[in-house]
Symmetry: C2
Subunit: 325 residues, 2 copies
């Protein structure tokens, strides 16, 4: 068992905070953020000391109709530049691309012509070979790359270890442990983190964590896995993200002891831009229906439907989940 790294008072200089508000939060509002929202979030993140800001997905315009989504599902170069210009800041810019749902061979410019710094490749365990192919292509274009292996709580341990080995053998920079269903407890999240770290450190790679808040554990799992050496930490303003949402940026920035991180700007952003989103009726965050899917280790789709229908018959819903196991 790898031991804990650092302590609760010290600064871990290897830590990188990744804001995924527009990307994961975009799943709550169809990526329809105003330019003002995204621009203010960009400024806020810079002032808060955030290390990476993820602008959204680089989804295939052949597979998805651009008229049906906000622009951050596609993250065209000119749209990002419309917000950041040449990005004359220390903060880096990332986008996510799903294996099988993007046109990575045509949609990414060489890094020298792009303001994007990092591309995060999201895949399921069975898509690792396709992910590795994407990673090599993007690495050759000059980007930093991550591999976000989703739904690991449903993969078996042998698959997981083989997948990790394949990813760590690639040119990837960061491998992400993703608790897609919010089903991990700190005890098994940290055990998985140690497995990831053992594989990654041998290959000179970093490890990241992306939590979901189905059991109110996104923040707990983030700091627990961090304590064992995970260094790329995803968070979103007010935890905005699909279903139960993610680790809240305000909890994370309040926890980290590095003085480069600070809360003030984020609080003002929350007052001015996040509270109005809620008032518009955009919903996310911990609730019983998401707790059930987290406890049962399954996709939140039925819980999202339950929420959309404004249902409150939790017990009936819970029974229906158990009926369809």
């Amino acid at each position: 068992m790898t031991s804990r790294k650092g302590n609760l008072m010290g600064v871990r200089r290897d830590v990188k905070v990744v804001d995924a508000t527009v990307r994961d939060g975009g799943l709550c509002n169809n990526f329809e953020f105003t330019d003002e929202f995204v621009r203010e979030l960009y400024k806020t993140n810079i002032k808060s000391g955030v290390d990476y800001m993820e602008f959204g997905y680089k989804a295939s315009r052949a597979l998805f109709d651009e008229k049906k989504f906000g622009k951050w599902k596609f993250c065209r170069e000119e749209d990002i530049r419309g917000i950041v210009g040449e990005n004359v800041s220390d903060m880096k810019i990332s986008v996510m691309a799903d294996v099988g749902r993007c046109d990575y061979k045509t949609d990414f410019l060489p890094k020298s012509e792009s303001v994007i710094d990092m591309v995060r490749v999201a895949c399921y365990v069975h898509q690792i070979p396709a992910a590795v192919e994407m990673i090599e292509h993007l690495h050759d274009l000059g980007y930093e790359t991550c591999c976000n292996i989703m739904a690991v709580s449903q993969a078996n341990m042998n698959q997981m270890e083989e997948a990790l080995e394949m990813v760590c053998d690639s040119s990837v920079d960061v491998v992400y442990l993703v608790d897609s269903y919010g089903s991990l407890y700190p005890e098994n999240a940290s055990a998985l983190a140690r497995t990831y770290l053992a594989a990654a450190e041998k290959a000179g790679k970093k490890v990241g964590f992306h939590g979901h808040n189905n059991q109110n554990l996104a923040f707990a799992n983030t700091i627990e896995t961090m304590s064992y050496g995970i260094s790329y930490l995803d968070a979103t303003a007010q935890g905005m993200g699909r279903g139960a949402g993610n680790c809240a940026m305000e909890l994370l920035l309040g926890f980290l002891k590095n003085p480069k991180y600070n809360l003030y700007s984020l609080l003002i952003f929350i007052e001015k831009y996040m509270l109005p989103l809620r008032e518009q009726g955009i919903t996310w965050g911990f609730d019983l229906q998401y707790m059930f899917t987290g406890q049962l280790n399954r996709h939140p789709r039925e819980a999202i439907q339950f929420t959309a229908e404004n249902r409150k018959d939790y017990c009936e819903f819970y029974k229906s989940l158990l009926d369809n196991f």
Copy 2:
């Protein structure tokens, strides 16, 4: 370092779940629950497998005006019996009594004449001698006793260890680690838990945990401290409790693997009785103002005030907290 006890799949038969909804939740609504609410919660707890239900405080009627509070601040024997009769169930009944704010010498019947099974004595570190005197009195009357040492995150380690030793030398049955300000992280909560367990196990005592949700960590800290051997676990329906509230019973029951615990009845209770409380405007639960006081390790009184005033200027509030450090 004591190692973890049990594992995530097994049953820990030493675990006792304590429902504190009426007691800690009473701090949100001045203990003004209807008899129907309390009776249905009592039935729900029995069906859910809960081990103890706490009915409220046994507060001094000389110090507090009975007209100004609901009856569960005083927990008269006849009021409890009005709900539970002779309590012909496996679930035990507890009440809390604060050192210096109760008349324990006159207000407790001998156990043989009472339906109360357990008295939880709440105190600060400097009140330990007074707590021990109460514990001995209540123990002699025939009650199970707990000592809930509050605000330990502000006590120094020497004080803590001396206090623990004194309590463990008494007739107390259970010593509680109480994260009053919701300032503990799983890593230091479990370190404190191991200190408590080391002292308690030597003396043949059990240890409990009572969390607050200021940093969304009440559940995480509960299961993390449990994993090291803490066995009395406090929770409340929907986490109802002062300020940010407590560990949510539904999260805890969904986590525990002992088949005696089940969620169904609690879900129905939540639908029928907890949602209406929220609709009536009774508020509790995680929010930024409580996160600040948790992060700063201080009493939530200013945050409760901020909530009562319906303020949303989080950044100004945060600055004012730092000004008054």
